[in-house]
Symmetry: C2
Subunit: 409 residues, 2 copies
């Protein structure tokens, strides 16, 4: 019988609405390209429920306990005294999320001597030291495609919000004013702009596809060139390097995984090569952008706006400069955790666990690390090495991440 | 020599940025379908400048004064003592905007005995009593298509913002918190939803086209059925009535002009027929929705969200309930006044004035009223009658429309 430690984000302090905004969510059976959505034997939740938080438990408790397994669910993930660090010692399986990352560093993997399987309830396993996982012979799996479309929608929304100056304009509504000139002095149409994605995997391609009818000029760079048919269909310009892409783009969206080659990619030097007044949207991983370089560029006007939902560390400390820099339009890390996405990644985790317990192979597209090397989706997207460095920073902020007015919202 | 009275929105009290966010705007030469953007003989402004406000003067002063005409520009538009009402008495031409509407009621038209031409610097001439204009034999013209794409971008942005719960999630960033569960408990993917537009003219069709790759099911209702080729291309479901459309849609966007048939269309009765938890986006005209019915529906949960940028009257009074109702994601009336749109409507007004002074015909597609009847674009989109009723309300609020913190922004 296995012990499963599941680290999920906290529940709202004031309770989420008892009645959901909507009674159901659209049913999706296949992703673009034909891959089926997760196919567990059954589920114990209603799609549309809050599943990604501690109270939601990914809908797994009944399934696991009925088979005699032990499930520990916690949001307390950072520091040596955290529930996660203590429970890890005899855990067989860890389930965690990019939104509220339980950083699985080499040190923690060394302590977790029984750990064989790390599942990411979502996409992006950079919070796991993949190098250490390979050396240990662990399996690392994620629910590939479960929230790619979710994120691509967030990207398009944020591009429009930056270009059209949405958030400061909404603020005039809240402030009971009516200053159109102030709203529009930074408001543009997206039409006709050059928009480029750094990486054109599932998310990047979905973003390009959604932007096509906006009559923009589309660009991409990637390790792997897209099929010619897609390049033609979307009228894409391929760039061999990120530098070449950013020189011509009014809007740049980052849709690459975090690994040693992308860590710190958008630093002062690269941002200086962008068009003055460009917009940058990063829903990939916070560490791909140099935190302070972004702030400097917004203050100087080199960047006209920055949006995205990824930070480092997560939760972002109260004094993270991206909270207060000008022309930001960010959210906490939520783009891949809509109720729609939660239903898919909860089902995907269940599918992976069912396979694991029955000794059946996990879908190849879900595998990141297996048998001591990058595998499946991991071999396509990741580099060997480790991008978890610095995650101990998270512990320093762990007790100070709530809004002061949390209880009044 | 003519006297031209031009009513434009106020400039920001604190001054807009001396350096614009961007150095240029993309050049657009044709709209979808082939209509050319405005073709004045020349312009005296740089596209990308703030033109729509009092200080911008639509870039017209040099042109008009060099020909000996008199130009009066003001933002003071409401009430009997306003600059507009006083200057109107001997004006030959009035230029006004939907964003900051100078309501040209039957009473004002009666007072303005020399008035022959009313130009809307934008699209939507419902702030002009078209019935009175027809009876007077005036010409009413607007810059058809100048900001249709601008508005369609705003609509897609707002649909995504409502469905994904963007604004409340951004607020957590500002409030220095990190409450993912609170953000996502009302966050959905758009994918798979049923989205419908009330009217499928230039804006409505552009919205449908932009939404197509989001893998939604698209619906529309309109007086005029779209060509079968477009219905097939976008896989549209036509509804003979608005009621039929709203019954099946998760998201409804209103893209109809305001005229007596659309005024008050979304009242308690129609909203009750919508799906529970639907989203409503209205960038058309505030009066198409019953103000208090919208508030009631948001409070009861019948509507999951409301966005848009149109209000009645405009500027919206400080105590307008749409400022404080739950689940709103509104802006002041700005969607059609991006810097990109301003360049086009300023050029279009110039084109119309050039034609007028030279005795050449104004483009048919710009005409709303001519020779005592609805003409050109007007005959397609408007009904005879008047939708300016109640505009005297605006005067009651004229001194109280600024945010209390205006000087600190």
């Amino acid at each position: 019988m296995a012990k499963i430690v599941c680290v999920l984000y906290e529940d709202p302090v004031t309770g989420y609405p008892r009645t959901y905004a909507r009674g159901d969510i659209p049913q999706i059976e296949r992703y673009p390209g034909g891959q089926t959505t997760p196919t567990p034997k059954s589920i114990d939740f209603r799609p549309g429920q809050l599943l990604g938080s501690v109270s939601g438990e990914l809908g797994l408790r009944k399934f696991l306990e009925s088979q005699g397994h032990t499930l520990v669910v916690t949001a307390d993930k950072d520091g040596a005294n955290s529930v996660f660090e203590k429970e890890l010692v005899d855990a067989n399986i860890v389930i965690s999320q990019p939104f509220w990352p339980a950083y699985l560093t080499a040190e923690r993997i060394a302590k977790a001597r029984k750990l064989q399987l790390a599942i990411t309830a979502g996409i992006g396993s950079d919070h796991v030291d993949l190098q250490a996982a390979m050396e240990r012979g662990m399996t690392v799996a994620e629910v590939t495609y479960c929230n790619s479309i979710s994120v691509s929608e967030h990207v398009v929304m944020m591009i429009l919000a930056l270009v059209r100056n949405y958030l400061p304009s909404h603020q005039w509504v809240v402030d009971r004013g009516w200053n159109i000139a102030d709203c529009v002095a930074r408001s543009y149409d997206l039409e006709g702009m050059n928009v480029g994605t750094v990486a054109a995997g599932r998310i990047g391609t979905a973003v390009l596809r959604r932007l096509k009818p906006f009559d923009v000029k589309l660009h991409y760079t990637d390790r792997h060139r897209l099929p010619e048919a897609i390049e033609k269909e979307l009228d894409l310009t391929f760039h061999p390097t990120t530098e070449s892409l950013v020189r011509v783009c009014d809007v740049v969206t980052i849709n690459a995984p975090l690994h040693p080659e992308t860590e710190g990619l958008f630093n002062d030097a690269l941002i200086a090569k962008m068009k003055r007044g460009a917009y940058l949207v990063n829903t990939a991983r916070g560490k791909i952008c140099d935190r302070d370089a972004v702030v400097r560029a917004l203050k100087s006007g080199q960047l006209a706006g920055y949006a995205g939902d990824v930070w480092f560390p997560q939760p972002a400390p109260r004094d993270h400069p991206w909270r207060t820099m000008p022309f930001e339009a960010m959210t906490p890390h939520i783009s891949g955790s809509s109720l729609s996405a939660q239903a898919r990644y909860a089902a995907g985790v269940r599918e992976i666990l069912e396979c694991w317990f029955e000794g059946k192979p996990i879908r190849d597209e879900y595998l990141i690390v297996q048998g001591g090397k990058l595998a499946g989706a991991g071999a396509h997207s990741y580099s060997a090495g480790d991008a978890t460095r610095g995650s101990e920073e998270a512990a320093r902020f762990k007790t100070t991440t709530r809004a002061p007015d949390t209880t009044h919202r």
